[in-house]
Symmetry: C2
Subunit: 339 residues, 2 copies
DNA sequence: CTGAAAGCGCTAACAG
DNA sequence: CTGTTAGCGCTTTCAG
């Protein structure tokens, strides 16, 4: 067992008394090689502790079998859950997951350019906006892009989302059915397709039903911003009796503020609704009414796209899945008689 | 802009009227090359949209500049936080993060073997046990191992932890000072060094102080198991008045069960203490007393080790950092007079 | 300082 | 079926 240096196919070939290409074939699934030869080669390879160098393999296949995954905000459990699923599904598909931080706001994206130079099979962006520069760069590098939980009109990218319009409308209807009079919407990151779709559908459904125009505050999909937004909302003289937060993280922040800073009875005095149905939503402390996004199916679709996009030069597909409303205790669903 | 094929150093060389090795030098930081030549090459490279193929580069350097990161349980916010920090620090260090699922219990680890064949600069395991087989395999592949939040006596691996002994003792003292009579310990994964150290130090400190032997239940570091364990504990006739859970995830589960299933006033009737100081611990609903592990410093040390271990054949280092007790409302810190 | 040439370790025609 | 021969795209001596 020589530790100092690596055992190469060459070494195995020499030892087994065959050519180096025979060794290669022995390790290639569909290759034409005699049963016995293969067995013999595999055996000596094993004995020598040989392992094919995947970098070399990737070099001439032109593909690394790696997909880049950019995450903006791991503070959001929905993306953690997604990342978890993704790591398993990609693994099963024989693909490696190259994780990189993708600052959604503020700073520039640093490493992403370099990542592309690894001949990625695809780039998956978890709730990260696609700049046209990046799209262009990926096109040049011939790396297909799949947006997760974001859409785009850019024909160079594919996307997987759940139907935000339907979701937001369903929530609006639920709130109306509960007899809420003063409704507020807590927005996520401005400019994200996700927020745009939820916001627009929510507002338009409400106005179609003749309800008053909702209040609007921005929570940026993040806890701190959402806490501040909630305070602004609850400090008003015409305090809302319902807040639809564009994701669960903000909804939980809202519950915390409403309950512990304003002493409100969430679910009775104030309804709070989230989006995503993250694990915490079902905890008794929160018992959050929320709209469930089908993470498992979304991930499956994402992996399917990664596969399908392989040969295609610039094919693209926009997948939209259905979610469902999960009613829990944080929202009143029966109309209350005005006192 | 020829989209079909990649631009190689060869192309740039031809276009710039230099040799291909000149192009290589132009892109190599410390290489001997004339200012002007470099400038000219960089310029034409830019014009052509050339990007060095990192797979090729890695192939002859023998190192991929990637580190494998195995995570067992992303349901634990402590590891999410760690992963987040790690992705940034590695990025800054010019290293790529290859994430792979490392089933801590149950099924076999699948992809990890293949991962190693990418000529990783290092393998980081986040709270994942090290089998001697894996250690042996890494030694052969010449990939240094760094355990995070786990230690080992295996001389082939390095590790970064915080001082679990001190932590557990501090908590024991805190509980004793609070006048608790019937103390319980909720254990994490059996066989993990992390749990072993906390458990042993906790028990021994208590016995040294002449306190009664604590009750013991296993929560496996996970929410569901911890909920079940809590139920077992609280259903006893001699119900404990304090539970030290070996991590925050289990502590939060315990709070939920105690409060919503047993109607207990956590912090008064029952003290619950966690470990890690994850973000949720500070939320008002939980207000969890916990022992803070210095994630940022632990990650920095981990990255430092990855760097230092580069040349070394089989050097190893075991880093132990200090944490600190964070007292919040979930534990009683003043002795209560017996009724 | 720069070009020519020899690999890094593997895969993929191409002949036998 | 198997060995020989070219590369994949880059880095790195080695001459000049």
């Amino acid at each position: 067992m020589n530790d100092r240096i690596f055992i190469t196919a060459q070494d195995v070939a020499r030892e087994a008394g065959v050519s180096q290409s025979a060794v290669s074939r022995a390790f290639t699934p569909g290759a034409r090689i005699a049963r016995d030869t293969r067995a013999h080669i595999i055996a000596t390879a094993e004995r020598l502790g040989y392992r094919p160098n995947l970098l070399a393999r990737s070099l001439n296949s032109g593909r690394s079998n790696m997909v880049g995954v950019g995450v903006g905000d791991l503070n959001n459990p929905f993306f953690v859950q997604t990342l978890q699923l993704l790591s398993h599904r990609l693994d099963e598909a024989g693909l490696r997951l190259l994780l990189f931080p993708a600052e959604t706001g503020g700073r520039p994206e640093p490493s992403i350019h370099e990542i592309l130079d690894y001949r990625l099979n695809a780039l998956i962006l978890l709730s990260v906006g696609l700049t046209s520069d990046l799209a262009e760069e990926c096109r040049r590098a011939q790396v297909p892009i799949v947006l997760y939980n974001r859409t785009t009109t850019n024909p160079d990218a594919s996307s997987v989302i759940s139907d935000n319009m339907v979701g937001a409308r369903t929530i609006a209807a639920h709130l109306l059915a509960g007899g809420h009079q003063k409704i507020a919407y807590m927005a996520g990151t401005e400019g994200s397709s996700t927020n745009a779709q939820r916001e627009e559908a929510f507002f338009s459904h409400l106005s179609q039903q003749g309800a008053a125009m909702p209040l609007l505050e921005k929570g940026e999909f993040r806890m701190e911003a959402a806490s501040a937004a909630t305070r602004r909302l609850l400090a008003r003289p015409d305090r809302p009796d319902a807040i639809f937060c564009a994701n669960d993280v903000m909804a939980i922040a809202a519950i915390n503020v409403a309950r512990y800073e304003y002493g409100l009875d969430v679910g009775r005095e104030l309804s709070i609704i989230g989006y995503d149905d993250t694990p915490m939503a079902s905890w008794p402390t929160f018992s959050l009414t929320t709209y469930s996004q089908p993470a498992a199916r979304m991930v499956s679709e994402t992996v399917r796209l990664v596969h399908n996009l392989q040969g295609m030069p610039s094919a693209h597909e926009n997948v939209v899945l259905e979610g469902s409303l999960v009613v829990r205790g944080s929202s009143r669903s029966v109309t209350m008689k005005p006192a």
